[in-house]
């Protein structure tokens, strides 16, 4: 979620790009994304780049709020560490 949280609210990132940034296998990333999608934190949109199907990922509004709350809780727990 940290990776997707760097995007603007109206932007999305392709699955291969996220996979590259996180250095994960496609299967591993898909497993994580399924859980986040079930929690309605991440949305997936299938599109085409030319003739190649591409899946774009983005945080939902709920996901962005949940991520920010989580980061605030972590920082509070760690005594204000930035």
């Amino acid at each position: 979620m940290s990776t997707l949280a760097t995007l603007d609210a109206d932007s999305s990132m392709s699955f291969p790009r996220v996979q590259e940034l996180l250095d994960m296998t496609a299967g591993n990333l898909s497993t994580h994304l399924r859980k986040l999608e079930e929690a309605n934190y991440v949305s997936q949109e299938k599109a085409f780049k030319g003739r190649t199907p591409v899946t774009y990922l983005a945080l939902t509004k709920q996901g962005r709020r949940a991520f920010e709350d989580y980061m605030d809780q972590l920082r509070e727990l760690l005594g204000g560490a930035s």
């Binding site: 979620m1 940290s2 990776t3 949280a5 760097t6 995007l7 603007d8 109206d10 932007s11 999305s12 990132m13 392709s14 291969p16 790009r17 996220v18 940034l21 996180l22 250095d23 994580h32 859980k35 986040l36 079930e38 929690a39 934190y41 599109a47 774009y56 949940a66 991520f67 709350d69 989580y70 980061m71 809780q73 972590l74 920082r75 727990l77 760690l78 560490a81």
Partner: protein
């Protein structure tokens, strides 16, 4: 975050403690920013070569130079290196937002286009000045100063768009070098641009490349 199914885990699948979870999140955030480091490093390296070598050759072709080089060869070499720098910068800039859609992609595309457009503009205006009677010696003050000035401004704009302090430092440095070198007059401004602008960009390319590589290793854990 009250999501039972997505607690951060390490590579072995064990749950991370809060400090480790925060560190991982920060590393991943930084990784996105420094993923741009590859293209940025390439852009800097291409201009380091174009200017480091190009301005040196043109300086060597100036009257009184200790290294006699034909002026025509120097002018053609400089033009070829500048075009190569523009092409590489444009292609590398376009790769910076690969895989991203939305307003972020728009920003990246527009910023990428601003490089070749502004460089072409500098060249066209210089041509117009020459046509209006600008002496060649003055033209060789105009071109390096304006190219350096435009590059400096573009890096500062990039710093504003992506909140990158490294680009801000490079941009301000380039503005100072371009303006300072122009005050030296022809042909010493060319040598100054070769060493300071070309050399400075080379150093920046190495630093940013190394930082990006380290960031990639950090997120792999």
């Amino acid at each position: 975050m009250n999501v039972q199914t997505t607690t951060p885990e390490d590579a072995e699948g064990d749950m991370l403690d809060p400090a480790a979870a925060l560190a991982l999140s920060q590393a991943q955030t930084k990784r996105v920013a420094l993923d741009e480091s590859g293209p940025i490093s390439l852009i800097l390296a291409s201009w380091a070569v174009a200017w480091g070598v190009g301005f040196l050759i043109v300086w060597a072709a100036a009257p009184g130079s200790p290294i006699p080089i034909p002026a025509l060869f120097a002018n053609v070499a400089f033009a070829v290196l500048t075009v190569a720098g523009i092409v590489i910068s444009t292609i590398a800039g376009m790769k910076m937002n690969a895989g991203v859609r939305g307003s972020a992609a728009f920003s990246g595309t527009v910023y990428g286009l601003s490089w070749p457009l502004s460089m072409i503009g500098v060249f066209v205006i210089g041509t117009a000045l020459l046509k209006a009677g600008l002496p060649p010696e003055a033209a060789w003050v105009y071109y390096p100063a304006m190219y350096g000035f435009v590059v400096g401004v573009l890096y500062i704009v990039g710093a504003a768009i992506w909140q990158e302090k490294s680009q801000l430092i490079i941009g301000i440095g380039m503005l100072v070098i371009a303006c300072g070198a122009s005050l030296l007059g022809y042909p010493m401004n060319l040598l100054a641009m070769s060493i300071l602008a070309g050399g400075g960009m080379g150093v920046a390319a190495v630093i940013i490349g190394v930082l990006g590589a380290r960031s990639k290793r950090a997120t792999r854990g």
